[in-house]
């Protein structure tokens, strides 16, 4: 499989990138780890590939004065994995990204690219939703912010408009004492997740306070488990209240099924995984 013909331009600045994106049929090439497989299979046929991979200033991880984190869209997965500031302020991102592909893919794949590509099982999307991150989108007419929780519209479909570029991800300050966990079921290490759960929790004397759960595989896109969080507020970790509640939450879902995985499986597996992720976060 070889790519179909297209033009190529490397943007040296954000302005130039935005200008190039005005070409009909233009597509952004960041790390290439999602776009290149599509090109090689001829599932994407852009007229112009706009290489934004060397745009300056978009690959930083910086502290937000309010205690949160700002990550440039070109932050590479492997960079995120090793970054001490990210480890301190948003460890869930690291926990999620270690499930993404393998070393070579993580060397080039980008945070922005992953979020914009919006694979229905994307780990970083699920983590971003749990963290209530905000995505900054830039176009010639200005900049806007969209919550990760509102960004994913469908499989491979986001709120990103044509000619818009995702430039930054902002993670708000997380409450003190919060821990996180990210668990998934995938056929092999690094594969796309069949189901995945991101959990954030605080614990006081074996009691949960402030639980946030996001999951993928529950719906056509990664999603916040909106009811699950509040229903766990004040729940004890002892006994099986947690198992029952998560199990019921899973059973209420309408997950997609496909040739290898049934909706029934996903319902059950998500319930089980939610319990384990919350217990791991609380440990």
């Amino acid at each position: 499989m070889k790519p179909p013909p297209f033009e190529y331009a490397r943007a040296a600045s954000l302005e130039e990138a935005l200008g190039l994106l005005e070409t009909p049929g233009a597509r952004v090439l960041a790390g290439g780890q999602s776009l290149m497989p599509l090109l090689n299979l001829r599932l994407a046929r852009p007229s112009l590939v706009v290489d934004v991979g060397r745009l300056p200033g978009l690959d930083g991880i910086a502290a937000d004065p309010d205690g949160g984190l700002r990550l440039g869209a070109l932050v590479r997965h492997q960079q995120l994995l090793a970054d001490p500031l990210a480890a301190e302020r948003a460890p869930l991102l690291r926990q999620a990204v270690r499930h993404v592909g393998h070393v070579a893919i993580r060397n080039w794949g980008t945070l922005g690219g992953s979020l914009a590509h919006a694979d229905p099982s994307a780990e970083l999307a699920t983590a971003a939703i749990a963290l209530d991150a905000e995505l900054r989108l830039l176009s010639r007419s200005g900049e806007r912010g969209v919550r990760a929780r509102d960004f994913f519209k469908g499989p491979f479909v986001t709120d990103l408009r044509d000619q818009e570029l995702l430039t930054e991800v902002r993670v708000p300050a997380r409450p003190t004492g919060e821990s996180s966990a990210f668990l998934e079921v995938a056929p092999r290490q690094g594969d796309f997740a069949i189901v995945a759960v991101a959990a954030l929790a605080r614990v006081a004397e074996r009691t949960l306070t402030g639980v946030t759960v996001a999951w993928s595989g529950a719906a056509p896109t990664p999603r916040l488990a909106a009811e699950l969080g509040p229903s766990l507020e004040g729940m004890t970790l002892d006994g099986d209240d947690l198992e029952r509640t998560c199990g019921e939450a899973g059973r209420r879902l309408s997950p997609p099924s496909d040739v290898t995985t049934s909706a029934d499986y996903r319902r059950a597996a998500l319930g089980v995984l939610a319990v384990r992720a919350i217990r791991a976060a609380a440990a």
Partner: protein
């Protein structure tokens, strides 16, 4: 378009269509037949090279993207006098290859791994190399080859190692659900 690629220390300039894969340019224009294509999807690691020191799947990179880069392929690992790199020696010593098709990609990945983690345990080896597929060996001897290569390289470096890596450990609340 003109693309400049320094491959194993040798500067090249090639005229390529934008869509040409780095792997194909390395193989068919620059004589690096040790770079192998097995899936063209980034799922097998056979095409692994180093681009500016970073382990890279050359099937998932346009030659144009690599303009100006320093590239290392399997052909660049042995010494000019033919002395094998310790990783190459270790693969032979431990029978870590059979048909050889995945081997250059593995060797590049192993050199990258040992630069980052000089003395990895089996579990780390398996996790870090999970992006390289082999159909012949069943992997047991590849793990041995990495352990032997690690020892050979630490001997060469006089036992000097690097500080512990900062990758999260498997027990850190993450990982596969078990």
């Amino acid at each position: 378009m003109r693309v400049r690629l320094t491959v194993n220390g040798v500067r090249n300039e090639v005229e390529v269509e934008p869509r040409r894969l780095l792997a194909d340019v390395l193989r068919h224009r620059l004589g690096c037949h040790g770079v192998h294509l097995a899936c063209e999807q980034g799922a097998c690691g056979a095409c692994s090279v180093k681009v500016d020191g970073r382990l890279t799947l050359s099937c998932l990179m346009l030659a144009a993207q690599a303009d100006g880069a320093q590239i290392t392929t399997i052909e660049g690992l042995a010494g000019a006098d033919g002395t094998l790199h310790p990783v190459q020696r270790a693969f032979n010593e431990e029978h870590g290859l059979q048909c050889g098709f995945c081997t250059p990609g593995f060797i590049l990945a192993v050199t990258d791994l040992l630069e980052r983690i000089p003395d990895p345990e089996e579990e780390t080896i398996r996790r870090e190399l999970s992006g390289n597929l082999c159909r012949c060996t069943g992997y047991t001897n590849i793990v041995k080859a990495v352990r032997t290569a690690s020892r050979l390289m630490r001997e060469v470096n006089g036992g000097a190692g690097r500080s512990a890596p900062t990758v999260p450990s498997p027990t850190e609340g993450g990982g596969r659900a078990t």
